[in-house]
Amino acid sequence: MANEQTTPANSTPVTDAKATIKIEGQEFELDTALAQEDKTLKTVLQPHFASVENANITREVKEGKLTVTIVKRAQHKGTR
């Protein structure tokens, strides 16, 4: 169950200090050091985005810049 939703970043090295986070239709910049690990990312974003706790996290590196896409996982009816 742990890290089941994680898609590891490509083998391309991340050179940009800022990563792009895409969550809930928004994008913002975050330190790459915080965005490379799911646990760290959840810890940092959970106070602002509660849905990150159970979400699919995918990573993509283009030209040394990390882009993290966080998609809220479908829940059962009645849950938010």
Partner: protein
């Protein structure tokens, strides 16, 4: 109205019996006031009422005895006060002054023994009376338990019976010391300095007796106050009720509740840093090599957070966190107008699309079933004109 006989059973819930008790107390007070040598006084009247109550030997339920006794005493004392007022405020009869002219001290009231024949005639209760000896009228000594004011000298057996503990003594109502202090304060403020003692209410007379500590009632009051902390004692009486009613306004004054104002946040907050809710989160990541990584994130509305990460030394963590937080606030304050403008820009097209989509759907639904082939072009033109009109409306 009949006078209650000695040994009558008096239930508290029997109205007729209670009225008879009140009538009996009033009658006794009238007859006592007529007796020769009677001198009205707060303590003496109270003592006399207690003696009459004990001599009457009324039978009551154990838990009602204290209440009925207090009612009897209050009625008795009230009647005595009324009689005294009617007599013109001359408590000392002439005979009392004549009988013992050698004792003119006002603080030492003279209480001659009344005529026993008169007492028997006027008093319907079989109170044992001793024959009066041919001596000068004795000085009333309330401290002497063996000598009674009107009943004469009591035998040691009777005295022993009187000192037996009674359940009624345990049920004498008490009150909290704080309430008592408030009542005394209230009484001191309201009472006149030259007021006669006989004009005091029943509760004041009881206070006077309590202070002197010379009667059985005082002893029971003291024991009750010592036991007043236990919640089992719930018995109330008429005197206590009067005290509570007197104290109630003071309690209301002291217990004025302060209203707590609620914090109201508007549903739509302005895009102004000082006028909106700012959420700041400080996270201290686990220590590594003597320092912590501090993650400070700030956001308002539903914008994305601005996240900053700094290394914080453990020794000076608070000041560094404070500085980082202040810096994050300043940067977010600068960014907020741009974020707000961008959001407003995004929201406008969405609103336009939402306003257009129902019009299009309505047109399509009305046209489709009528003539599908022949009139395909006019609806598009009409739709185009509608769009321009709507667009002109919104841009205006």
């Amino acid at each position: 109205m009949e006078i209650l006989n000695s040994g009558s059973f008096i239930p508290l819930d029997n109205k007729e019996k209670m009225e008879q008790l009140a009538f009996t107390a009033a009658t006794l007070a009238t007859e006592v006031s007529r007796s020769d040598g009677f001198q009205s006084g707060g303590q003496a009247n109270h003592q006399l009422g207690l003696e009459l109550w004990s001599g009457a030997e009324y039978v009551c339920r154990a838990h009602e005895e204290a209440t009925i006794k207090n009612l009897f005493l209050s009625k008795f004392l009230q009647s005595l006060r009324e009689i005294e007022k009617q007599n013109g405020g001359q408590p000392l009869p002439l005979q009392a002054l004549v009988v013992n002219p050698a004792a003119p001290r006002p603080s030492d009231p003279v209480q001659p023994i009344p005529d026993p024949s008169h007492a028997v005639r006027s008093n319907p209760l079989p109170i044992p009376l001793q024959p009066v000896q041919a001596q000068p009228a004795p000085v009333y000594q309330p401290q002497d338990p063996a000598r009674d004011e009107y009943l004469g000298i009591l035998s040691p057996d009777e005295q022993g019976e009187r000192n037996k503990p009674s359940y009624a003594d345990e049920c004498v109502p008490g009150y909290d010391p704080e309430i008592e202090a408030l009542v005394e304060k209230f009484d001191n403020e309201s009472s006149e300095p030259d007021a006669d003692i006989s004009n005091e209410p029943v509760s004041d007379a009881a206070d006077a007796i309590e202070q002197r500590g010379s009667t059985d009632l005082v002893e029971t009051e003291v024991t009750f106050q010592s036991e007043s902390d236990s919640p089992d004692v719930v018995e109330q009486s008429a005197s206590t009720e009067t005290r509570e009613t007197e104290v109630a306004p003071n309690q209301n004054e002291t217990s004025v509740a302060e209203s707590i104002e609620s914090i109201v946040i508007p549903e739509k907050e302005p895009y102004n840093f000082d006028g909106c809710t700012v959420t700041a989160v400080i996270q201290l990541l686990p220590e590594s090599s003597g320092a912590r990584k501090c993650v400070v994130s700030v956001r308002t509305h539903d914008f994305t957070p601005r996240v900053a990460i700094v290394d914080v030394a453990i020794a000076d963590a608070l000041s560094q966190i404070s500085a980082t937080l202040g810096l994050a606030f300043e940067q977010y304050r600068k960014e907020l107008p741009a974020r707000a403008a961008e959001k407003v820009k995004k929201e406008k097209p969405v609103a336009r699309k939402q306003s257009k989509s129902p019009a299009k759907a309505g047109k399509a639904a009305s046209i489709a079933p009528s003539k599908p082939d022949a009139q395909t072009t006019p609806p598009t033109n009409a739709a185009a004109t509608d769009q321009t009109q709507q667009g002109g409306l919104f841009t205006a």
